[in-house]
């Protein structure tokens, strides 16, 4: 989970304090490109094939993690 958080922070290049409970709407760097970047990052780092449509529905960092964890 820590690795996931760090990967997400690196991908977003964010200086905001991000936790699993953070709302994506509160993260300034979370934009439309982030969705595509998250899909790419999930594939590269976790071998997960995700769909951008699903990622757009996520509201929190925990929601994103659940996609990676396959829950």
């Amino acid at each position: 989970m820590e690795k996931f958080l760090q990967d997400l922070i690196d991908m977003l290049d964010s200086e905001t304090h991000i936790t699993m409970n953070s709302y994506l709407s509160d993260i300034e760097e979370w934009d439309s490109l982030s969705v595509i970047s998250f899909v790419a990052m999930a594939d590269i780092n976790y071998g997960k094939k995700l769909v951008a449509t699903d990622i757009r529905k996520a509201q929190t960092v925990q929601n994103l993690y659940n996609f990676i964890a396959g829950e």
């Binding site: 991908m11 977003l12 290049d13 439309s32 490109l33 982030s34 595509i36 970047s37 998250f38 899909v39 790419a40 990052m41 594939d43 590269i44 769909v51 951008a52 449509t53 757009r56």
Partner: protein, 247 residues
């Protein structure tokens, strides 16, 4: 299916189609078979190829080959030519679309796209224009994309791959013209296929298509035209079929 105003007659003609198991490749294979051609349909996924073959068993020969396996492609082609006769053209529709945003750029994925769309396309042309496999005058179509003309976030590698197809084919057109061979490029707008489905959930892209998002059959007509003798004076050119996306 609605009766088409323009029909083609490819009776007795032979073609090879890569990426034939889905999207554009599948549609072109179907339409060539419907027009009487003998088609060698190549793709990795055998179950989908078998389904396609079942639609026109007398016109479609299938081979489960990865287009980046150059020996495998030539072996399948050689067997097809031996059985059916020499080729009249090829369509390289194999391709993948992977997001490669700068923030999560993966060189392996980027190179894979280039391997399948571009380098495998060059290999295909090298093989299919050999005298032992082709008749004297042949026509070939390779796929570029509107993304070679207009940027979209996350598609740097895909766009570069498609730009490479245009630049590369112009040179090859000059190399093969003397021997009576033609090659052209078709640049579709965003067409609803398995490959693009994820991208098309982006509303902006959909709205930018004046005529709406396309279907494979909106593009295949141009491909069949370029393969036909009505296009005998056309080579080294790019044809945009994009529902007004670049307008």
């Amino acid at each position: 299916m609605k009766m088409a105003e323009v029909t083609f007659d490819f009776s007795g003609k032979k073609f090879i189609v890569t990426g034939a198991s889905s999207g554009m490749g599948r549609q072109i294979t179907r339409e060539l078979a419907l027009a009487g051609a003998e088609v060698l349909a190549i793709a990795r996924r055998l179950p989908e190829l078998k389904e396609l073959q079942a639609e026109y068993p007398e016109h479609i020969t299938i081979a489960s080959v990865d287009v980046t396996d150059y020996n495998g492609v030539e072996k399948a082609l050689s067997a097809f030519v031996q059985e059916k006769g020499k080729l009249h053209g090829s369509i390289h529709a194999a391709g993948i679309l992977t997001f490669t945003p700068l923030r999560a750029f993966d060189e392996i994925q980027a190179k894979k796209m280039m391997d399948i769309s571009f380098w495998a396309g060059i290999n295909l042309l090298q093989v299919v224009t050999k005298k032992k496999y082709s008749v004297e005058s042949t026509s070939h179509v390779q796929f570029s994309s509107v993304s070679a003309w207009k940027g979209q976030k996350g598609l740097s590698a895909y766009s570069a791959t498609k730009g490479a197809a245009q630049a590369g084919m112009r040179s090859i057109a000059k190399e093969i013209a003397e021997r009576g061979h033609r090659v052209n490029v078709v640049s579709p707008g965003w067409v609803n296929t398995d490959m693009t489905r994820d991208l098309l959930t982006n509303d902006t892209i959909a709205k930018e298509h004046l005529l709406g998002i396309g279907k494979p059959e909106d593009v295949s007509g141009m491909v069949l035209f370029l393969l036909s003798d009505r296009a005998q004076w056309i080579t080294g050119a790019d044809f945009v079929v994009d529902g007004g996306y670049l307008a």
